[in-house]
Subunit: 113 residues, 2 copies
Amino acid sequence: MDLTPACGLSIEEAASTFAALGSEQRLGVLRVLVRAGPPGLSIGALGAAAGVTGSTLTHHLRILTQAGLVQQTRQGRSIICAAAAFDRVQALSGYLLTECCADCATPGEHDHG
Amino acid sequence: MDLTPACGLSIEEAASTFAALGSEQRLGVLRVLVRAGPPGLSIGALGAAAGVTGSTLTHHLRILTQAGLVQQTRQGRSIICAAAAFDRVQALSGYLLTECCADCATPGEHDHG
DNA sequence: TGTTCATTTCGATAATCTTAGAAATATGGA
DNA sequence: TCCATATTTCTAAGATTATCGAAATGAACA
């Protein structure tokens, strides 16, 4: 039986991506990063803005990067980080909305109120 | 300074909701539940279908319920669980899309391809 | 090549999460 | 009341995650 969902995320990928977002610290980092926009921020600047530095920041950044939520590019001595949340969040909501609900509901009908 | 986002989720709520989804086991439980649709399933039936039982299931169910992803109703001897993922996923994507990106992008412009 | 700045790896500790068995609680029925 | 069923609480072990300081690596520049 094929369990691969339509949105292209396996249950393992979905879980680890959700887990990557499941930390206030990382959500804070991502927040700074997303607000910084396409140009991104160096890891140093990011750490200063988010209140996380050194090896701890490296740790969280690895998790966010592996989840595809952040992209890194070397620029001179620094490493520039930029958020890539749009696609991921769409894939994530797609995971629950399309994959999980394929049998029981039509996505698009759900209402917020 | 007010950090409350437009989508109504605080960073703490967002993080704990993401964390609730950040487990293959819980994602599996939620999957069964969402596919079961509005009528829901008893905890026993849910556990049997998802391959999780007893205290472990109680544990995961508490997390999902506290995150607002699952709702429980007593029905005779059993407790019926039903998924409430639609609203939450919308709030969650809203969190990243609206709250995080308020300064740098207009939600709605992001494209999947 | 040597120096400096930026980031990572290493190593250790504390904290949190997961899982599960056994006992306890709650509900419905005889 | 007594019994059977359904779920939870208690308790504890094992696994994973978070955090941090110090040393190490990588890149640019004199």
